[in-house]
Protein backbone atom coordinates (compact mmCIF):
# COMPACT_ATOMS: atom_id res chain seq x y z
CA UNK A 1 0.00 0.00 0.00
CA UNK A 2 2.78 2.39 0.94
CA UNK A 3 4.62 1.69 -2.32
CA UNK A 4 1.50 2.45 -4.34
CA UNK A 5 0.83 5.59 -2.34
CA UNK A 6 4.38 6.79 -2.89
CA UNK A 7 4.32 6.09 -6.60
CA UNK A 8 0.97 7.77 -7.16
CA UNK A 9 1.90 10.77 -5.08
CA UNK A 10 5.16 11.22 -6.96
CA UNK A 11 3.50 10.70 -10.30
CA UNK A 12 1.30 13.73 -9.64
CA UNK A 13 4.48 15.75 -9.77
CA UNK A 14 6.15 13.98 -12.70
CA UNK A 15 2.99 14.74 -14.67
CA UNK A 16 1.51 18.22 -14.95
CA UNK A 17 -1.70 17.02 -13.25
CA UNK A 18 -0.57 17.67 -9.68
CA UNK A 19 0.68 21.14 -10.48
CA UNK A 20 -2.42 22.02 -12.48
CA UNK A 21 -4.68 20.85 -9.67
CA UNK A 22 -2.80 22.83 -7.05
CA UNK A 23 -2.55 25.90 -9.25
CA UNK A 24 -6.28 25.93 -10.03
CA UNK A 25 -7.16 25.40 -6.39
CA UNK A 26 -4.78 28.08 -5.15
CA UNK A 27 -5.97 30.53 -7.78
CA UNK A 28 -9.66 30.26 -6.98
CA UNK A 29 -9.30 30.01 -3.23
CA UNK A 30 -6.93 32.98 -3.37
CA UNK A 31 -9.43 34.90 -5.42
CA UNK A 32 -12.20 34.34 -2.89
CA UNK A 33 -9.84 35.14 -0.04
CA UNK A 34 -8.86 38.43 -1.61
CA UNK A 35 -12.58 39.26 -1.73
CA UNK A 36 -12.79 38.74 2.03
CA UNK A 37 -9.95 41.12 2.53
CA UNK A 38 -11.63 43.60 0.26
CA UNK A 39 -14.91 43.46 2.19
CA UNK A 40 -13.13 43.79 5.52
CA UNK A 41 -14.47 40.63 7.07
CA UNK A 42 -12.80 37.80 8.96
CA UNK A 43 -15.49 35.33 7.96
CA UNK A 44 -13.39 32.83 6.08
CA UNK A 45 -16.43 30.56 5.61
CA UNK A 46 -17.13 32.59 2.52
CA UNK A 47 -14.04 31.08 0.89
CA UNK A 48 -15.04 27.56 1.80
CA UNK A 49 -18.60 27.82 0.59
CA UNK A 50 -17.36 28.75 -2.85
CA UNK A 51 -14.83 25.93 -2.84
CA UNK A 52 -17.56 23.36 -3.43
CA UNK A 53 -18.06 24.49 -7.03
CA UNK A 54 -14.33 24.53 -7.65
CA UNK A 55 -13.84 21.06 -6.23
CA UNK A 56 -16.71 19.77 -8.28
CA UNK A 57 -14.70 20.45 -11.42
CA UNK A 58 -11.17 19.65 -10.36
CA UNK A 59 -11.59 16.52 -8.25
CA UNK A 60 -12.74 14.43 -11.25
CA UNK A 61 -9.57 15.56 -13.01
CA UNK A 62 -7.46 14.61 -10.03
CA UNK A 63 -8.86 11.07 -10.01
CA UNK A 64 -9.50 10.30 -13.65
CA UNK A 65 -6.11 8.71 -14.25
CA UNK A 66 -5.79 6.69 -11.07
CA UNK A 67 -7.48 3.43 -12.03
CA UNK A 68 -8.30 3.75 -15.73
CA UNK A 69 -4.73 4.31 -16.83
CA UNK A 70 -3.54 1.17 -15.05
CA UNK A 71 -6.02 -0.85 -16.98
CA UNK A 72 -5.26 0.79 -20.29
CA UNK A 73 -1.49 0.44 -19.98
CA UNK A 74 -1.90 -3.05 -18.49
CA UNK A 75 0.19 -2.05 -15.51
CA UNK A 76 -2.58 -3.50 -13.38
CA UNK A 77 -1.02 -6.84 -14.30
CA UNK A 78 1.95 -5.87 -12.21
CA UNK A 79 -0.12 -4.65 -9.29
CA UNK A 80 -2.51 -7.58 -9.27
CA UNK A 81 0.25 -10.17 -9.46
CA UNK A 82 2.26 -8.52 -6.70
CA UNK A 83 1.87 -9.54 -3.09
CA UNK A 84 -0.47 -6.61 -2.42
CA UNK A 85 -4.13 -6.93 -1.49
CA UNK A 86 -6.72 -5.14 -3.60
CA UNK A 87 -7.79 -3.19 -0.54
CA UNK A 88 -4.21 -2.01 -0.18
CA UNK A 89 -4.14 -1.04 -3.82
CA UNK A 90 -7.36 1.00 -3.60
CA UNK A 91 -6.37 2.62 -0.31
CA UNK A 92 -2.94 3.54 -1.65
CA UNK A 93 -4.46 5.34 -4.61
CA UNK A 94 -7.16 6.97 -2.54
CA UNK A 95 -4.70 8.28 0.00
CA UNK A 96 -2.39 9.61 -2.71
CA UNK A 97 -5.19 11.69 -4.22
CA UNK A 98 -6.28 12.72 -0.73
CA UNK A 99 -2.75 13.82 0.10
CA UNK A 100 -2.64 16.10 -2.94
CA UNK A 101 -6.02 17.49 -1.99
CA UNK A 102 -4.84 18.05 1.59
CA UNK A 103 -1.83 19.84 0.21
CA UNK A 104 -4.14 22.13 -1.71
CA UNK A 105 -6.39 22.67 1.28
CA UNK A 106 -3.43 23.49 3.50
CA UNK A 107 -3.29 26.90 1.84
CA UNK A 108 -6.42 27.90 3.78
CA UNK A 109 -4.37 27.67 6.96
CA UNK A 110 -2.14 30.34 5.49
CA UNK A 111 -5.20 32.49 4.80
CA UNK A 112 -6.34 32.08 8.39
CA UNK A 113 -2.94 33.12 9.64
CA UNK A 114 -3.02 36.19 7.41
CA UNK A 115 -6.35 37.10 8.97
CA UNK A 116 -4.85 37.09 12.45
CA UNK A 117 -2.85 40.15 11.48
CA UNK A 118 -6.06 42.10 11.17
CA UNK A 119 -8.38 40.59 13.74
CA UNK A 120 -8.94 37.50 15.83
CA UNK A 121 -10.65 34.96 13.65
CA UNK A 122 -12.96 32.34 15.07
CA UNK A 123 -10.61 29.39 15.13
CA UNK A 124 -13.30 26.81 15.90
CA UNK A 125 -15.20 27.77 12.78
CA UNK A 126 -12.06 27.71 10.66
CA UNK A 127 -11.01 24.28 11.93
CA UNK A 128 -14.56 23.01 11.38
CA UNK A 129 -14.53 24.37 7.86
CA UNK A 130 -11.19 22.83 6.98
CA UNK A 131 -12.24 19.51 8.44
CA UNK A 132 -15.54 19.61 6.57
CA UNK A 133 -13.81 20.42 3.28
CA UNK A 134 -11.35 17.62 3.86
CA UNK A 135 -13.88 14.86 4.43
CA UNK A 136 -16.22 16.12 1.74
CA UNK A 137 -13.32 16.20 -0.72
CA UNK A 138 -12.33 12.72 0.40
CA UNK A 139 -15.84 11.47 -0.32
CA UNK A 140 -15.71 13.10 -3.77
CA UNK A 141 -12.35 11.43 -4.40
CA UNK A 142 -13.79 8.05 -3.41
CA UNK A 143 -16.64 8.49 -5.89
CA UNK A 144 -14.38 9.63 -8.75
CA UNK A 145 -11.95 6.80 -8.00
CA UNK A 146 -14.77 4.31 -8.38
CA UNK A 147 -15.78 5.84 -11.71
CA UNK A 148 -12.17 5.68 -12.86
CA UNK A 149 -12.10 1.98 -11.98
CA UNK A 150 -15.08 1.34 -14.24
CA UNK A 151 -13.44 2.47 -17.46
CA UNK A 152 -10.21 2.29 -19.41
CA UNK A 153 -10.46 5.84 -20.66
CA UNK A 154 -9.34 8.82 -18.63
CA UNK A 155 -11.70 11.08 -20.53
CA UNK A 156 -14.73 8.96 -19.75
CA UNK A 157 -13.61 8.79 -16.13
CA UNK A 158 -13.34 12.59 -15.99
CA UNK A 159 -16.71 13.18 -17.63
CA UNK A 160 -18.37 10.50 -15.54
CA UNK A 161 -16.86 12.00 -12.41
CA UNK A 162 -18.05 15.47 -13.37
CA UNK A 163 -21.55 14.14 -14.04
CA UNK A 164 -21.61 12.48 -10.64
CA UNK A 165 -20.46 15.69 -8.96
CA UNK A 166 -23.12 17.72 -10.77
CA UNK A 167 -25.72 15.20 -9.71
CA UNK A 168 -24.66 15.50 -6.08
CA UNK A 169 -24.75 19.26 -6.39
CA UNK A 170 -28.20 19.42 -7.93
CA UNK A 171 -29.78 16.52 -6.13
CA UNK A 172 -31.62 18.84 -3.76
CA UNK A 173 -33.10 20.86 -6.62
CA UNK A 174 -34.10 17.64 -8.30
CA UNK A 175 -35.77 16.50 -5.09
CA UNK A 176 -37.82 19.70 -4.89
CA UNK A 177 -39.15 19.07 -8.38
CA UNK A 178 -40.74 15.81 -7.32
CA UNK A 179 -44.54 15.82 -6.89
CA UNK A 180 -45.78 15.96 -3.29
CA UNK A 181 -46.95 12.36 -3.46
CA UNK A 182 -43.31 11.40 -3.72
CA UNK A 183 -42.16 13.61 -0.88
CA UNK A 184 -40.63 10.62 0.93
CA UNK A 185 -38.33 10.12 -2.06
CA UNK A 186 -37.56 13.83 -2.08
CA UNK A 187 -36.59 13.59 1.58
CA UNK A 188 -34.22 10.73 0.93
CA UNK A 189 -32.64 12.50 -2.02
CA UNK A 190 -32.10 15.76 -0.21
CA UNK A 191 -30.46 13.82 2.62
CA UNK A 192 -27.92 12.62 0.07
CA UNK A 193 -27.04 16.14 -1.01
CA UNK A 194 -23.36 16.83 -0.65
CA UNK A 195 -23.88 20.57 -0.99
CA UNK A 196 -26.39 21.14 1.81
CA UNK A 197 -24.40 19.07 4.28
CA UNK A 198 -21.33 21.03 3.31
CA UNK A 199 -23.21 24.25 3.92
CA UNK A 200 -23.68 23.17 7.52
CA UNK A 201 -19.93 23.09 7.96
CA UNK A 202 -19.58 26.48 6.31
CA UNK A 203 -22.17 27.92 8.65
CA UNK A 204 -20.09 26.76 11.57
CA UNK A 205 -22.26 23.79 12.49
CA UNK A 206 -20.40 20.60 13.24
CA UNK A 207 -23.06 17.95 12.96
CA UNK A 208 -22.15 14.37 13.81
CA UNK A 209 -24.57 13.08 11.21
CA UNK A 210 -22.85 15.13 8.50
CA UNK A 211 -19.45 13.80 9.50
CA UNK A 212 -20.80 10.25 9.54
CA UNK A 213 -22.46 10.81 6.18
CA UNK A 214 -19.22 11.72 4.44
CA UNK A 215 -17.22 9.04 6.18
CA UNK A 216 -19.73 6.35 5.30
CA UNK A 217 -19.76 7.61 1.70
CA UNK A 218 -15.96 7.18 1.63
CA UNK A 219 -16.17 3.67 3.06
CA UNK A 220 -18.99 2.56 0.78
CA UNK A 221 -17.40 3.81 -2.42
CA UNK A 222 -13.98 2.44 -1.58
CA UNK A 223 -15.60 -0.89 -0.81
CA UNK A 224 -17.38 -0.86 -4.18
CA UNK A 225 -14.07 -0.07 -5.77
CA UNK A 226 -12.44 -3.13 -4.25
CA UNK A 227 -15.36 -5.28 -5.33
CA UNK A 228 -15.28 -3.99 -8.88
CA UNK A 229 -11.61 -4.80 -9.26
CA UNK A 230 -12.16 -8.18 -7.67
CA UNK A 231 -15.06 -8.87 -10.00
CA UNK A 232 -12.98 -8.13 -13.05
CA UNK A 233 -10.72 -11.06 -12.20
CA UNK A 234 -13.66 -13.43 -12.21
CA UNK A 235 -15.37 -12.35 -15.39
Amino acid sequence: MLAIFKREFNSYFTNPMGYVFLAVFYFFSGMYFSMILKYNTTDISYVFSYLFEVLMFIIPLLCMRLMSEEKRAKTDQLLMTSPVSITGLVLGKFLAALAIYALALAVTVVYAIILTFFATPEWAVIVGNIFGSLIMGAAMIAICLLISACTESQIIAAIGGLAAMLLLWMIENAASLLPSSLSWLGNILSQLSFASRYDNFCNGILNVSDVLFYISAIVVFLFFNVRIIEKRRWS
Binding site: L2, S11, K74, Q77, L78, M80, S82, S85, W234
Partner: protein, 380 residues
Protein backbone atom coordinates in the same frame (compact mmCIF):
# COMPACT_ATOMS: atom_id res chain seq x y z
CA UNK B 1 6.99 -26.33 -7.42
CA UNK B 2 4.01 -25.49 -9.61
CA UNK B 3 0.97 -27.74 -9.56
CA UNK B 4 -1.84 -26.96 -11.96
CA UNK B 5 -4.90 -29.14 -11.71
CA UNK B 6 -7.85 -29.17 -14.03
CA UNK B 7 -7.73 -25.49 -14.82
CA UNK B 8 -10.82 -24.26 -16.65
CA UNK B 9 -11.71 -20.74 -17.66
CA UNK B 10 -14.81 -19.50 -19.41
CA UNK B 11 -15.13 -16.05 -20.92
CA UNK B 12 -18.89 -15.84 -21.04
CA UNK B 13 -19.72 -19.14 -22.70
CA UNK B 14 -16.42 -19.33 -24.52
CA UNK B 15 -14.07 -21.99 -23.27
CA UNK B 16 -10.65 -20.31 -23.13
CA UNK B 17 -8.91 -22.96 -21.05
CA UNK B 18 -10.32 -26.43 -20.71
CA UNK B 19 -9.13 -28.80 -18.02
CA UNK B 20 -5.44 -27.96 -18.15
CA UNK B 21 -3.24 -29.89 -15.73
CA UNK B 22 0.52 -29.98 -15.51
CA UNK B 23 3.26 -29.65 -12.97
CA UNK B 24 6.67 -28.07 -13.04
CA UNK B 25 9.52 -29.22 -10.88
CA UNK B 26 11.98 -26.91 -9.19
CA UNK B 27 14.70 -25.75 -11.54
CA UNK B 28 12.86 -26.85 -14.64
CA UNK B 29 12.39 -24.65 -17.69
CA UNK B 30 9.02 -25.36 -19.22
CA UNK B 31 8.15 -24.17 -22.70
CA UNK B 32 4.55 -23.26 -23.29
CA UNK B 33 3.57 -23.47 -26.95
CA UNK B 34 0.41 -22.95 -28.88
CA UNK B 35 -1.09 -20.96 -31.73
CA UNK B 36 -2.67 -17.55 -31.12
CA UNK B 37 -5.78 -17.78 -29.01
CA UNK B 38 -4.90 -21.22 -27.69
CA UNK B 39 -5.13 -20.07 -24.08
CA UNK B 40 -1.45 -19.56 -23.30
CA UNK B 41 -1.73 -16.07 -21.90
CA UNK B 42 -4.96 -16.90 -20.11
CA UNK B 43 -3.26 -19.82 -18.40
CA UNK B 44 -0.31 -17.65 -17.44
CA UNK B 45 -2.62 -14.95 -16.12
CA UNK B 46 -4.37 -17.53 -13.97
CA UNK B 47 -1.07 -18.95 -12.72
CA UNK B 48 0.00 -15.51 -11.55
CA UNK B 49 -3.33 -14.67 -9.96
CA UNK B 50 -4.16 -11.83 -12.35
CA UNK B 51 -7.44 -13.47 -13.29
CA UNK B 52 -9.25 -16.29 -11.59
CA UNK B 53 -10.05 -19.65 -13.05
CA UNK B 54 -13.63 -20.81 -13.39
CA UNK B 55 -12.57 -24.04 -11.75
CA UNK B 56 -9.38 -25.89 -10.96
CA UNK B 57 -6.48 -25.09 -8.67
CA UNK B 58 -3.01 -23.62 -8.95
CA UNK B 59 -0.45 -24.23 -6.26
CA UNK B 60 2.86 -22.41 -6.15
CA UNK B 61 5.25 -24.15 -3.79
CA UNK B 62 2.30 -25.48 -1.81
CA UNK B 63 0.42 -22.17 -1.64
CA UNK B 64 -2.91 -21.96 -3.43
CA UNK B 65 -3.05 -18.83 -5.58
CA UNK B 66 -6.62 -18.08 -4.48
CA UNK B 67 -6.45 -19.08 -0.84
CA UNK B 68 -2.99 -17.75 -0.01
CA UNK B 69 -2.53 -15.14 -2.74
CA UNK B 70 0.04 -13.04 -0.91
CA UNK B 71 2.37 -15.96 -0.14
CA UNK B 72 1.99 -17.45 -3.60
CA UNK B 73 2.50 -14.15 -5.43
CA UNK B 74 5.60 -13.45 -3.39
CA UNK B 75 7.21 -16.42 -5.08
CA UNK B 76 6.37 -15.38 -8.63
CA UNK B 77 8.04 -12.99 -11.03
CA UNK B 78 5.78 -12.33 -13.99
CA UNK B 79 6.54 -10.74 -17.31
CA UNK B 80 3.21 -10.38 -19.13
CA UNK B 81 2.86 -10.16 -22.89
CA UNK B 82 3.01 -6.38 -22.67
CA UNK B 83 5.57 -5.33 -20.07
CA UNK B 84 3.68 -3.47 -17.32
CA UNK B 85 5.74 -0.28 -17.36
CA UNK B 86 4.93 3.16 -16.06
CA UNK B 87 6.19 5.22 -18.94
CA UNK B 88 6.60 8.39 -16.92
CA UNK B 89 9.08 6.85 -14.49
CA UNK B 90 12.81 6.33 -14.79
CA UNK B 91 14.07 2.77 -14.96
CA UNK B 92 15.59 3.16 -11.53
CA UNK B 93 12.42 4.66 -10.05
CA UNK B 94 10.29 1.97 -11.59
CA UNK B 95 12.41 -0.90 -10.32
CA UNK B 96 12.55 0.71 -6.92
CA UNK B 97 8.74 0.87 -6.93
CA UNK B 98 8.53 -2.80 -7.89
CA UNK B 99 10.99 -3.58 -5.12
CA UNK B 100 8.77 -1.85 -2.59
CA UNK B 101 5.66 -3.42 -4.07
CA UNK B 102 7.07 -6.91 -3.67
CA UNK B 103 8.19 -6.12 -0.12
CA UNK B 104 11.70 -7.39 -0.74
CA UNK B 105 14.17 -7.85 2.07
CA UNK B 106 17.45 -7.90 0.14
CA UNK B 107 19.61 -4.71 0.20
CA UNK B 108 17.81 -2.43 -2.24
CA UNK B 109 20.42 -0.46 -4.19
CA UNK B 110 22.67 -3.42 -4.64
CA UNK B 111 19.83 -5.72 -5.72
CA UNK B 112 18.48 -3.29 -8.31
CA UNK B 113 21.97 -2.69 -9.70
CA UNK B 114 22.53 -6.42 -9.84
CA UNK B 115 19.27 -7.08 -11.72
CA UNK B 116 20.01 -4.23 -14.15
CA UNK B 117 23.42 -5.69 -14.87
CA UNK B 118 21.95 -9.11 -15.54
CA UNK B 119 19.54 -7.85 -18.20
CA UNK B 120 22.04 -5.21 -19.38
CA UNK B 121 20.10 -2.08 -18.70
CA UNK B 122 22.53 -0.61 -16.18
CA UNK B 123 23.51 2.19 -18.58
CA UNK B 124 19.90 3.36 -19.06
CA UNK B 125 18.96 3.29 -15.37
CA UNK B 126 18.37 7.01 -15.16
CA UNK B 127 16.42 7.39 -18.36
CA UNK B 128 12.66 7.74 -18.51
CA UNK B 129 11.02 4.54 -19.74
CA UNK B 130 8.96 6.45 -22.31
CA UNK B 131 12.15 7.27 -24.19
CA UNK B 132 13.43 3.71 -24.37
CA UNK B 133 13.16 1.49 -27.42
CA UNK B 134 10.97 -1.59 -27.47
CA UNK B 135 13.88 -3.92 -26.82
CA UNK B 136 14.95 -1.97 -23.78
CA UNK B 137 11.40 -1.78 -22.49
CA UNK B 138 11.16 -5.53 -22.81
CA UNK B 139 14.33 -5.87 -20.78
CA UNK B 140 13.07 -3.49 -18.12
CA UNK B 141 9.98 -5.72 -17.97
CA UNK B 142 12.21 -8.72 -17.50
CA UNK B 143 14.16 -6.89 -14.80
CA UNK B 144 10.87 -6.20 -13.07
CA UNK B 145 10.12 -9.93 -13.00
CA UNK B 146 13.55 -10.66 -11.54
CA UNK B 147 13.27 -8.17 -8.69
CA UNK B 148 13.17 -9.98 -5.39
CA UNK B 149 14.72 -13.15 -6.82
CA UNK B 150 11.40 -14.99 -7.04
CA UNK B 151 11.58 -18.76 -7.12
CA UNK B 152 9.20 -19.00 -10.04
CA UNK B 153 9.50 -16.97 -13.22
CA UNK B 154 6.62 -16.81 -15.63
CA UNK B 155 7.59 -15.16 -18.88
CA UNK B 156 5.10 -14.52 -21.65
CA UNK B 157 7.08 -14.20 -24.88
CA UNK B 158 10.16 -12.69 -23.29
CA UNK B 159 12.15 -12.16 -26.48
CA UNK B 160 9.52 -10.31 -28.50
CA UNK B 161 10.90 -7.13 -29.99
CA UNK B 162 14.53 -7.87 -29.28
CA UNK B 163 17.25 -7.93 -31.89
CA UNK B 164 18.98 -11.25 -32.61
CA UNK B 165 21.93 -10.46 -30.39
CA UNK B 166 19.69 -9.53 -27.50
CA UNK B 167 17.60 -12.63 -28.09
CA UNK B 168 20.66 -14.79 -27.64
CA UNK B 169 21.60 -12.85 -24.52
CA UNK B 170 18.16 -13.21 -23.01
CA UNK B 171 18.07 -16.89 -23.91
CA UNK B 172 21.38 -17.45 -22.17
CA UNK B 173 20.09 -15.46 -19.23
CA UNK B 174 16.98 -17.63 -19.02
CA UNK B 175 19.13 -20.73 -19.12
CA UNK B 176 21.22 -19.40 -16.25
CA UNK B 177 18.08 -18.43 -14.36
CA UNK B 178 16.74 -21.93 -14.91
CA UNK B 179 19.51 -23.29 -12.74
CA UNK B 180 18.13 -21.57 -9.67
CA UNK B 181 14.57 -20.65 -10.61
CA UNK B 182 11.63 -22.52 -11.99
CA UNK B 183 10.74 -20.99 -15.33
CA UNK B 184 7.63 -21.16 -17.48
CA UNK B 185 8.12 -19.49 -20.81
CA UNK B 186 5.83 -19.06 -23.73
CA UNK B 187 7.06 -18.29 -27.17
CA UNK B 188 6.20 -18.42 -30.83
CA UNK B 189 9.81 -18.98 -31.76
CA UNK B 190 10.14 -22.73 -31.74
CA UNK B 191 13.90 -22.84 -32.10
CA UNK B 192 14.09 -20.71 -29.00
CA UNK B 193 11.91 -23.05 -27.02
CA UNK B 194 13.95 -25.97 -28.24
CA UNK B 195 17.18 -24.24 -27.27
CA UNK B 196 16.09 -23.19 -23.80
CA UNK B 197 13.42 -25.50 -22.44
CA UNK B 198 13.73 -28.84 -20.70
CA UNK B 199 10.14 -29.73 -21.39
CA UNK B 200 7.31 -28.62 -23.66
CA UNK B 201 3.64 -28.21 -23.05
CA UNK B 202 1.73 -27.70 -26.28
CA UNK B 203 -1.72 -26.24 -25.89
CA UNK B 204 -4.41 -25.92 -28.52
CA UNK B 205 -8.01 -24.79 -28.21
CA UNK B 206 -7.59 -24.52 -24.45
CA UNK B 207 -6.48 -28.12 -24.05
CA UNK B 208 -3.05 -29.59 -23.52
CA UNK B 209 -2.21 -31.73 -26.53
CA UNK B 210 1.33 -32.70 -25.58
CA UNK B 211 3.53 -32.57 -22.50
CA UNK B 212 7.00 -34.01 -22.91
CA UNK B 213 10.56 -33.22 -23.92
CA UNK B 214 11.13 -32.21 -27.53
CA UNK B 215 13.17 -35.36 -28.18
CA UNK B 216 10.49 -37.65 -26.82
CA UNK B 217 7.81 -35.93 -28.81
CA UNK B 218 9.81 -36.38 -31.98
CA UNK B 219 10.37 -40.01 -31.21
CA UNK B 220 6.78 -40.69 -30.29
CA UNK B 221 5.23 -38.88 -33.23
CA UNK B 222 7.63 -40.19 -35.88
CA UNK B 223 5.94 -43.52 -36.10
CA UNK B 224 6.09 -43.60 -39.84
CA UNK B 225 9.25 -44.16 -41.80
CA UNK B 226 10.16 -41.66 -44.41
CA UNK B 227 13.34 -41.64 -46.35
CA UNK B 228 15.02 -39.58 -49.00
CA UNK B 229 17.12 -41.55 -51.43
CA UNK B 230 19.29 -40.54 -54.38
CA UNK B 231 20.01 -43.22 -56.89
CA UNK B 232 22.12 -43.12 -60.03
CA UNK B 233 20.21 -45.11 -62.61
CA UNK B 234 17.31 -45.02 -65.08
CA UNK B 235 14.50 -43.15 -63.40
CA UNK B 236 11.49 -45.22 -64.45
CA UNK B 237 13.10 -48.55 -63.61
CA UNK B 238 14.38 -47.36 -60.26
CA UNK B 239 10.91 -46.20 -59.47
CA UNK B 240 9.39 -49.53 -60.36
CA UNK B 241 11.91 -51.39 -58.23
CA UNK B 242 11.24 -49.11 -55.27
CA UNK B 243 7.50 -49.46 -55.64
CA UNK B 244 7.88 -53.22 -55.77
CA UNK B 245 9.40 -53.46 -52.32
CA UNK B 246 7.00 -55.05 -49.85
CA UNK B 247 5.89 -52.57 -47.20
CA UNK B 248 6.45 -49.52 -49.43
CA UNK B 249 3.49 -47.22 -49.27
CA UNK B 250 4.43 -44.31 -51.41
CA UNK B 251 7.21 -43.34 -53.75
CA UNK B 252 7.47 -39.72 -54.81
CA UNK B 253 9.86 -38.53 -57.45
CA UNK B 254 11.67 -35.37 -56.46
CA UNK B 255 13.49 -34.79 -59.74
CA UNK B 256 16.90 -35.20 -61.24
CA UNK B 257 19.28 -33.58 -58.81
CA UNK B 258 22.52 -34.27 -60.60
CA UNK B 259 22.98 -35.60 -64.14
CA UNK B 260 21.65 -39.14 -64.03
CA UNK B 261 20.90 -39.00 -60.33
CA UNK B 262 17.28 -39.16 -59.25
CA UNK B 263 15.83 -38.38 -55.90
CA UNK B 264 12.81 -40.10 -54.37
CA UNK B 265 10.87 -39.61 -51.19
CA UNK B 266 9.75 -42.91 -49.74
CA UNK B 267 7.17 -43.69 -47.16
CA UNK B 268 6.96 -47.14 -45.73
CA UNK B 269 4.79 -49.22 -43.47
CA UNK B 270 5.79 -48.44 -39.89
CA UNK B 271 5.66 -52.11 -39.01
CA UNK B 272 8.47 -53.01 -41.39
CA UNK B 273 12.02 -51.83 -41.66
CA UNK B 274 12.62 -51.83 -45.40
CA UNK B 275 16.00 -50.13 -45.48
CA UNK B 276 17.97 -53.33 -46.07
CA UNK B 277 15.62 -54.46 -48.76
CA UNK B 278 15.94 -51.13 -50.59
CA UNK B 279 19.70 -51.36 -50.46
CA UNK B 280 19.78 -54.95 -51.70
CA UNK B 281 17.45 -54.35 -54.61
CA UNK B 282 19.13 -51.18 -55.82
CA UNK B 283 22.59 -52.61 -55.53
CA UNK B 284 21.36 -55.87 -57.04
CA UNK B 285 20.60 -53.97 -60.25
CA UNK B 286 24.08 -52.43 -60.07
CA UNK B 287 22.74 -48.93 -59.57
CA UNK B 288 24.48 -46.68 -57.11
CA UNK B 289 22.99 -45.14 -53.98
CA UNK B 290 24.50 -41.70 -53.54
CA UNK B 291 22.59 -40.73 -50.45
CA UNK B 292 20.01 -42.40 -48.28
CA UNK B 293 18.64 -40.91 -45.09
CA UNK B 294 15.51 -40.85 -43.05
CA UNK B 295 13.77 -37.54 -42.45
CA UNK B 296 13.51 -36.45 -38.85
CA UNK B 297 10.63 -34.39 -37.57
CA UNK B 298 11.46 -30.90 -36.53
CA UNK B 299 9.73 -29.12 -33.71
CA UNK B 300 7.84 -27.18 -36.36
CA UNK B 301 6.41 -30.40 -37.72
CA UNK B 302 5.37 -31.50 -34.25
CA UNK B 303 3.80 -28.17 -33.53
CA UNK B 304 1.89 -28.14 -36.77
CA UNK B 305 0.74 -31.73 -36.38
CA UNK B 306 -0.59 -31.09 -32.92
CA UNK B 307 -2.21 -27.74 -33.52
CA UNK B 308 -3.48 -27.86 -37.09
CA UNK B 309 -6.71 -29.31 -38.41
CA UNK B 310 -5.58 -32.92 -38.27
CA UNK B 311 -4.44 -32.56 -34.70
CA UNK B 312 -6.90 -35.14 -33.41
CA UNK B 313 -5.14 -37.94 -35.21
CA UNK B 314 -1.71 -36.78 -34.12
CA UNK B 315 -2.86 -36.59 -30.53
CA UNK B 316 -4.10 -40.14 -30.78
CA UNK B 317 -0.71 -41.18 -32.05
CA UNK B 318 0.79 -39.53 -29.03
CA UNK B 319 -1.62 -41.18 -26.66
CA UNK B 320 -1.07 -44.54 -28.22
CA UNK B 321 2.64 -44.20 -27.67
CA UNK B 322 2.23 -43.76 -23.96
CA UNK B 323 3.00 -47.27 -22.81
CA UNK B 324 2.05 -47.06 -19.17
CA UNK B 325 -0.74 -44.61 -19.39
CA UNK B 326 -3.56 -46.36 -21.21
CA UNK B 327 -6.93 -44.73 -21.13
CA UNK B 328 -10.21 -46.29 -22.16
CA UNK B 329 -10.87 -44.25 -25.27
CA UNK B 330 -7.73 -45.31 -27.03
CA UNK B 331 -7.72 -47.21 -30.25
CA UNK B 332 -4.10 -48.17 -30.29
CA UNK B 333 -2.73 -49.99 -33.31
CA UNK B 334 -5.36 -49.28 -35.90
CA UNK B 335 -5.67 -45.62 -35.12
CA UNK B 336 -1.95 -45.19 -35.28
CA UNK B 337 -1.81 -46.87 -38.58
CA UNK B 338 -4.42 -44.66 -40.15
CA UNK B 339 -2.84 -41.39 -39.24
CA UNK B 340 0.52 -41.97 -40.61
CA UNK B 341 -0.65 -41.18 -44.07
CA UNK B 342 -1.76 -37.74 -43.09
CA UNK B 343 1.67 -36.65 -42.08
CA UNK B 344 3.12 -34.98 -45.09
CA UNK B 345 6.33 -33.25 -44.48
CA UNK B 346 7.59 -33.42 -48.01
CA UNK B 347 5.67 -31.60 -50.63
CA UNK B 348 4.89 -34.15 -53.34
CA UNK B 349 5.40 -31.67 -56.16
CA UNK B 350 8.43 -29.73 -55.23
CA UNK B 351 9.59 -31.26 -52.00
CA UNK B 352 13.22 -32.09 -51.73
CA UNK B 353 15.45 -33.18 -48.93
CA UNK B 354 16.43 -29.57 -48.42
CA UNK B 355 12.81 -28.55 -48.11
CA UNK B 356 12.25 -30.88 -45.25
CA UNK B 357 14.62 -29.07 -43.01
CA UNK B 358 12.93 -25.76 -43.69
CA UNK B 359 10.10 -24.79 -41.37
CA UNK B 360 6.70 -25.16 -42.92
CA UNK B 361 4.31 -22.29 -43.21
CA UNK B 362 1.64 -21.87 -40.62
CA UNK B 363 -1.40 -23.96 -41.47
CA UNK B 364 -4.76 -22.46 -42.21
CA UNK B 365 -7.03 -23.15 -39.31
CA UNK B 366 -9.92 -25.16 -40.62
CA UNK B 367 -13.57 -24.77 -39.70
CA UNK B 368 -13.42 -27.35 -36.97
CA UNK B 369 -10.74 -25.60 -35.00
CA UNK B 370 -12.15 -22.13 -35.47
CA UNK B 371 -14.87 -22.07 -32.81
CA UNK B 372 -12.21 -22.69 -30.22
CA UNK B 373 -10.36 -19.55 -31.19
CA UNK B 374 -11.23 -16.06 -30.12
CA UNK B 375 -13.58 -14.27 -32.37
CA UNK B 376 -10.97 -11.71 -33.21
CA UNK B 377 -8.23 -14.27 -33.36
CA UNK B 378 -6.36 -12.58 -30.57
CA UNK B 379 -5.06 -14.12 -27.45
CA UNK B 380 -6.83 -13.81 -24.16
Amino acid sequence: MIEVKNLTKYYGDKHAVDGVSFSVKQGEILGFLGPNGAGKSTTMNILTGYISSTSGTVEIDGYDILENPIEAKQKIGYLPELPPLYLDMTVQGYLSFVYDLKKCKIPKRQHIDDVCRRVRIDHVQHRIIKNLSKGYRQRVGLAQALIGNPEVLILDEPTVGLDPKQIIEIRDLIKVLGERHTVILSSHILSEVQAVCDRLVIINGGKIVADDTAENLTRRLSKDFRYIIRVEGPMEEVRKVLEGIPGMKEVLYNGEKEPGVHEFSLESDPALDIRREIFRRIVGRSWVILSFHSTEMTLEDIFLMLTSGDSASAIKTLEASEEDDTTTEQKPAEATHGEVEEIQVVNPETGTAEDVSKPLEMPKIDGEAKPKMNEDGGEE
